[in-house]
Symmetry: C2
Subunit: 367 residues, 2 copies
Amino acid sequence: MLTLQNNDCQKGERIPLNERKLKILAAVVEEYVRTGEPVGSKVIANLPEIGVSAATVRNDMAMLEQLGFLEQPHTSAGRIPTISGYRLYIEKIMNPPALPEEERERLDHMLAEQGPMTGELLIQNATTALAELTQCAAVVSDFSPKFSVISKVEVIPAGKRVYVVLLITSGGAIKNKACRLEFDLTNEQLSMFSDYLAKHLEGVSVADLSDERMADLAAAMGAYMMTMAPLVQGICELSRDLQQHALTFSGEKNLFSCEDLDKMEVVRFIEHKEELVRLLDDSFSGIRVMFGKDSGSFVIGNSSMIVSKYRKGGKNVGSLGVIGPMRLDYAKVIPYLEYFSEKITDLITAESDDAPPAEQSGEQGKG
Amino acid sequence: MLTLQNNDCQKGERIPLNERKLKILAAVVEEYVRTGEPVGSKVIANLPEIGVSAATVRNDMAMLEQLGFLEQPHTSAGRIPTISGYRLYIEKIMNPPALPEEERERLDHMLAEQGPMTGELLIQNATTALAELTQCAAVVSDFSPKFSVISKVEVIPAGKRVYVVLLITSGGAIKNKACRLEFDLTNEQLSMFSDYLAKHLEGVSVADLSDERMADLAAAMGAYMMTMAPLVQGICELSRDLQQHALTFSGEKNLFSCEDLDKMEVVRFIEHKEELVRLLDDSFSGIRVMFGKDSGSFVIGNSSMIVSKYRKGGKNVGSLGVIGPMRLDYAKVIPYLEYFSEKITDLITAESDDAPPAEQSGEQGKG
DNA sequence: CTTAGCACTCAGGGAGTTGGAGTGCTAACA
DNA sequence: TGTTAGCACTCCAACTCCCTGAGTGCTAAG
């Protein structure tokens, strides 16, 4: 259910950590997440679930520090969790309760704010809701268009020598672009070209729309090519557009309100969102947590990112991510993320069941 | 050529400020903009263009302070300009040289980065370039769609019971939306409906697309209405969309890198960009400079905004703004802004000359 | 194995001190 | 009348010194 990057946690099982030590680690993580201050032995000892004295806690903490799960900012300060500490906590210790029914309803409502969902709006709502709920930044990388097929190509005259090319996919994506030609087309030319495009593109998987294929298409047109070049060019651009992961971002401001994060790093990060794709794209299932500069060098210093996938027809077609300070309430955030990815999976699967004509054949033809 | 908000500057002419005092004010503004530190009399006296001693400068500065153009952060510090000081400087004193030819070429290149410009891309490039050049945030509020006419309405089948409505304006804006119907349309129904829409919407000014008009349209359809309701609804939404000012923003990050501005205020500002519309919308010509909370309460505390208009067919159809710290190199920024608004005016005017069919009649019919 | 006790460390905050930049004022000068 | 040098004054900013309190590790006893 929960997959983590396993750098140094594999040994986790063999470490001689009795239940009390795990409890103490959990308490340190939770206190630190709550207050942001290094946590001292006294505070821990006073917690009801820890039945021992401060001195004992100190001994255990010293061991936890030796094992690399805790650290001290300076000699006479309390302890804070290390990355390994967070990992151990998330993976083995914390145990968030299932979301209560009323909470699920609230979330459903946030997702489906404006009635029935089209893909894009769903994604938009999901990021906004995630950012709102977690008070972090949220990102969704949607690469489902890649898995759909062209369901419609149109060329529409839109003024003197101006034509709009329109691409619609089975997944509901609509892209358009205005192109300027050297000459006006006759009705006959227009309908011939339209038919030609329809015949050669409709039903084709978006993933197959390589530039080479488009070049072939153009070449096959022969004589017409000259006149139509800008239109073919336009369609190329649109199809390239469709193949890109659409990144939807929300809650950037939360990163700025966050004490723990360096403002300048946040700025740099926001300016280079594209680099996220690399991290969001990795295929895995379940949930993955990445820490700070630990994983690739782009992420903000003191931050962590939690990523989950959503699926369609059994294939991963997008990633849902939450980016926040390392000092994050994982036990709260992770269930949200899990619920949303399940929910989105359900919704987009249902949506495609509803309108399966081109889709099914196309996707199965090109698994 | 340069219009300013004239709160207390009207008296400017009558104030007994000899040339030396103006020079000193200018020097204070420029030094302060350069260094960010309060400026002392000694620094000013050492400037070559000021031929007097520090004591004399002190006397003059005392007077400038009395008149409200300078102020002291505390007793033993140098002077910094007040808002009135900046105003006076911008309005009467500073005298930026015309942009050299090579600079103009560089700017032209930034605007037209990817070949010939469509409206949206032009606006996008302009904001990016402005933000880049000034190291501030840049915003463009484009309300030109309002002044164009619908040149094309299409309804395109895009799957089982799914139809895409497409609206194209003479200004080159393209909007689309997928709508789901209860039933599939017959070819006959579709073409009838398309014809009906074309007849009643094409050539109509976007500004005239009120909800009432759309309701009338729907009502006139009578029997068909039931079936087509979602499509009409979709067109309504698109037309509402067209009437909104499109805000294009760039360079937010620069505000964060800016020492003078409160990060939290910047965050709040970025979250509420829409409020800008009120300020950008005001009709005036030339250039307007607004300071901090001085003008409406939304702007960031220590900031200023410089706004310029661009036109099409003699009408203001958009605003170009730069938002930065009050301590801003106005003599550099204002010429950029002037040049860009002229250039955009030229480009979009040329563009519409190029394809005047629906446009001309429509706009003239509805001045 | 747990606990009380104790000596030790160190960050953070307040008080006192100093240096320097900049001012206003006055009196002399052109 | 306008300009300048000189001087006393103000006040911020930086620095040192000191103290407090939180928290630790270690040791010895239970």
